[in-house]
Symmetry: C2
Subunit: 429 residues, 2 copies
């Protein structure tokens, strides 16, 4: 019976099943658990992979780079040359096009939009804050912190579906061609948050080439998971910078990345890349905001990856730790939810999340029920603009932080919740 | 003849003196020197004082604070509890009122104004950017990077004189009482940049109590040199937060500080303090910009000062290194310029600068002449809004970075330049 399509069951069968599930749920609830799968946080074992980095700049150092910069003192606005070289291949640009920041690419994204609001970007007719209203395209489900930035700045968000090959380009092309107040789009193009998919070559090309009514339209290309493969089968992402340049739209894109999920989430290094014109404008403004980011931490990172051999080898070690958690999650989904036609998910080959769609109208209730049994999930709706999932079905699972045992328990409880809510829904219909 | 008041000399005597000085200048010029006294940078010996800090979080750590926070992972928006405790006495507030940031208090100041431009502050009728024009009071000579922030945001700067006991309060009180578009004032209240003076108790009280036409008027209290004493004779600064609170104006002040000139200029920790209402608003916006600053570096700082005994003891070591440079500068000023009535200066008891006033209309030429002889000074005018010193007389000397030998040479050349320009001016009159 477990593997039967839910809709094939009679009312009585559903009620019996529900009773069993509710009993199981109550047993879980009695345990008083506190399991958290809400945020894409590396687990302690992952953080340990990088701890030798903390031994690479100590009191017996000379504190000088090859070019003679004292890494302890003021200066070097856009980052050490060596740090630019580290980030260039991640961002897909030349080292000269990299601006190295502090510990947060979120801050670099926020600040880039704050500057656009206050001053506009290259080719802006006026500062974005001087429009009655401006809008951003938000392929969804997407990253809640992107949406929070739009909300903070009063930027209206237009929700656009995201498919397996990337956002719905037909809709986007029509929107941006007609509406000059659409100033940007958020993209997590590789192993996307939360779906885990990667934009196709066609989607990247269309984003780079599409006609935009706003002459100052910008793609915010948050390549957060550029090198975060889970398997040997790497998704390939076309280089957006080259695509924009080839289309004569080199000022269209800002590219962001960080080592938050490569080294330390709280003490990594972030970087961005942009066309020479964009970068010059950014640096002119950045030079008023700071004298320079933490160069000691930049050098720690540079030295660590010199010793490690390569970023790629290092990322394999991360994958070894977290892949079993992704595999276990998918395995349990198959076991408890498979064949019942009450949930859909994709198996990502990289990134930090698994996205599960329940039946329409069930997500909020599932998250609530799980919470009451001690399993904290990302809030239902969080993956959509304004926290409003129009279908109330998307739930983001973050399997990396809990231990495998905790995860197994949490996913089982979660699946019980999905089944309970689905049956209740079915019975109420 | 050397110690004669310049204006007492005959034209012939002046010409003879000028010839001798120009000969001396040419000899210096031939050396092809490259000496830099332009920025307030700690010297390498000062940076070495803190290097043991880099050994305090290494690969054998447990990476946990007392409250169980993993310092490597995401989170803790406003800083570790331990870091707040470190900053509380520097900022003159309770730990709960501290927001710990990244490596730059300049960034915290810039961002505070950027937020005010975009959203206003507590009690703002509207965002500051929505006014036709807003203005800031800029006591001058002052800190060029403050003025650059105003320029970036298009905030009109009103230059107000600064006296030995602080800014000209009569003028300020009149201005802010009448003009609702004056939204703020920049203050470096202790060992000020560049004069080195400290605001009197009376000045602090008047700033806290004065009637302002703008209900959202803010004091930007950049207490950059709070603990940067040069001698045992410490200047006393009244607590601005208490003064504002007592006056019923607790939302009036934002207080800033950093360890840039305590530990490492490029890799220190910055912090700010504000009233509960101001702080809540700031943190709500900050939480969209970042998940948290670098907690590993915060813990390095906390542990270092636990081992050192106290901040105060550590700052004495800094003073031992740089006080001889201040003393030498003053000694040479006395020797070469004393009694000639062509320059004025104060001997500061803390901070990073010595401010010298030439005869009116001489500063630009002195800086240019020095530059041509290989001595780089802060640009003349930099200490005034828009880079415009209305008297063309203020020159900021930053004696900390060069070695004592280099400094001696640089100051001697500088004094020759001051004399040459003064005599030329006198002859041309």
């Amino acid at each position: 019976m477990e593997l039967t399509v839910l809709s094939d069951l009679s009312q009585q069968e559903l009620e019996e099943q529900l009773q069993q599930l509710e009993k199981k749920y109550d047993q879980f609830k009695e345990k008083g658990l506190a399991l958290d799968m809400s945020r894409g946080k590396p687990c302690p074992e992952q953080l340990d992979l990088t701890k030798k980095m903390l031994d690479l700049v100590t009191s017996d150092d000379v504190y000088k780079t090859n070019s003679g910069v004292d890494i302890r003192n003021y200066g070097v606005l856009d980052g050490l040359a060596e740090a630019k070289e580290l980030f260039a291949p991640i961002l897909g640009v030349k080292p000269a096009e990299v601006i190295v920041g502090g510990n947060s690419s979120l801050t670099m994204m926020h600040d880039t939009i704050a500057r656009a609001m206050l001053f506009g970007v290259v080719n802006s007719p006026k500062p974005w804050s001087q429009y009655e209203k401006i809008k951003f395209i938000c392929p969804s489900p997407g990253y809640d912190r992107h949406f929070a930035i739009c909300e903070l700045f009063g930027i209206e968000m237009i929700t656009v579906d995201i498919f397996e090959d990337g956002p719905d380009m037909d809709t986007i092309e029509n929107l941006v061609k007609e509406d000059p107040t659409i100033k940007g789009i958020w993209c997590v193009p590789k192993y996307s948050n939360p779906i885990g998919n990667t934009y196709s070559a066609e989607v990247v090309r269309r984003l780079a080439e599409m006609e935009t009514s706003a002459k100052d339209f910008r793609i915010f290309w948050d390549n957060a998971y550029a090198i975060h493969h889970l398997t040997e089968q790497h998704d390939e992402l076309v280089n957006i910078y080259d695509a924009c340049e080839n289309a004569g739209n080199e000022n269209r894109v800002f590219i962001f990345a960080s080592t938050s999920k490569v080294t330390f989430p709280g003490a990594g290094v972030a970087a961005m890349a942009a066309s020479p014109e964009n970068a010059t404008r950014t640096k002119n403004q950045l030079g008023i905001q700071t004298i320079g980011s933490d160069k000691i931490n930049q050098l720690r990172h540079v030295r660590f990856f010199e010793e490690e051999g390569s970023l790629q080898e290092h990322m394999k070690k991360h994958a070894e730790i977290i892949r079993p958690k992704f595999d276990k999650t998918i395995e349990l989904f198959e076991k408890f939810l498979g064949g019942k036609e009450i949930a859909k998910w994709l198996q990502p080959s990289g990134g930090y999340f698994i996205s599960l769609d329940t039946l329409d109208g069930c997500a909020k209730e599932v998250v609530l029920l799980a919470k009451e049994a001690g399993v904290t999930l990302t809030g239902a709706g969080a993956t959509y603009p304004y926290g409003q999932d129009p279908y109330d079905r998307n739930i983001r699972i973050a399997p990396t932080f809990p231990s495998l045992d905790e995860l197994e328990l949490a996913i089982e409880i979660f699946c019980v919740c999905v089944e309970i809510v689905s049956i209740r829904k079915s019975l109420a219909a």
